[in-house]
Amino acid sequence: MWYNTDYNLSDKIYFLLFTNEVAAIVLISCNEKDTQNIGYYIGQRVKAGDIILLYGDLGSGKTVLTRGIAKGAGVESRVTSPTFIIMNQYPGNCPIFHFDLYRLSDSEELYDLDFEDYLYGDGIAIVEWPEKMAELLPKEYLKVTINKLEDDDNKRIIKISSYGEKYESYKEVFKGYESTCR
């Protein structure tokens, strides 16, 4: 796995990886609070109309990261898990649509939810379990992947990559993150 390369935590926390298709920024999170801080950093920089797809296993911290993103985007109320209700909407600097597709059986159900209206609407759409989107996967989006580290239950590797021209500039925007990891 490419992310198992050596990295020095005390050093600069982010680094850029260039794969064939996209450039990715990789950040290390030491704990839940740090994951939320990374989310906050992202949230301060994304704009209305952006789509963020969150990949990661159960318990990896997708909702925690979303809580940070929402906070960074001006949401005052606390973000809770939308698993049961599929979508939560929060008023922030622009509307924040927080989706969790975990419970969906197929992408057919997304049409009934007017999913695309939210995705391409006037707010920031954050989608957990985007694997369920299938053919509704947008052409352009910001992809955030959270992976656990093998040797530590608390640490996470958070990889941000851009798909499509629209998100190309975020590569530079996210580069300056200063980790709060100690």
Partner: protein, 356 residues
Amino acid sequence: MAYFQNMKKKTELLKDKKDILILAIESSCDETSVALVRNGREVVSNVISSQIDIHKEYGGVVPEIASRKHVEVINYIVDKALSEANINLNELDAVAVTYGPGLVGALLVGVAMAKGLAFGLKVPLIGVHHIEGHISSNYIHNPDLEPPFLCLVVSGGHTMLVCVEDYCKYRLMGQTLDDAAGEAFDKIARVIGLGYPGGPAIERYAKDGDPTKYDYPRVNIKGKPYDFSFSGLKTAVINHVHNMKQAGEKVNINDIAASFQQAVVDVLVEKSINCANELGIDKLAIAGGVSANSLLKDQMNSLAGQHGIKLYTPSIILSTDNAAMIGSAAYYRLLRGEISDLSLNAIPYLSLSSLN
């Protein structure tokens, strides 16, 4: 406008009527449900889409999360609720409906149906908060229950402690800061391979397990004694299972299920009893799907007993999403003259503070 003024007058007259019959609709999430409730406590009929074989009887499909599917079955469910009760539309005194929180498309189906019925039948319309419905499910199953009491609402989508100070008067004491308790059950069941729905599966496997085998975290939040957090517990169990597998250890599903269930129940019981004691309230009710969990009921009952608190629980059918509970809540709103205008809209993220 004319409708609302007329209904205000009509509502005043209804207060003196001996029997008040309300048709209630609930379509906030997966279920389409229609019920007829008399005087807030007596269920005349309560039809829930997943409880009937719609495919066989109607040729349609059981609604899941889709609003389109609610549309497909709602007329049928209304008819069935009326025919089961042997009641005519013109015998109804009011129409009630869940208007939030929930899925907006799903809610809208119920709200549109209720508005149409209320306007057409010239009867008052009552918009009901979904959580108020869950709390009211206890009025149906426990005819002697009267406020004030404390209610633990615990389901797949909600976990909160609400002080019911009077009918229609609520105080939120605490709620989950991340995952709902029922959601944690579903996710852990998936992780240890028990399938959906997770609650009954965990309970079944836990019966043959050792609840003291693993000491999973019971989370208390500083300065917020009645708030809940189950996300950390979820992650702890997932990590534990993962690490055991990595180390090549045999994973005992029964012990994990039992220890996990114990951790959830310990937190729910302790916070509920502490909260009741602090408020000086001697009545405690549980509502929502997780109230069907036997360990929760038994442990709550025994600790409540030690503290001189009486425990109330709804029947299993009333603990899930259903329209009868909405009809019960609506009755007490109607008695207070709190009815809705035809401008009533679905509010997907309706907060509990809007209850009062």
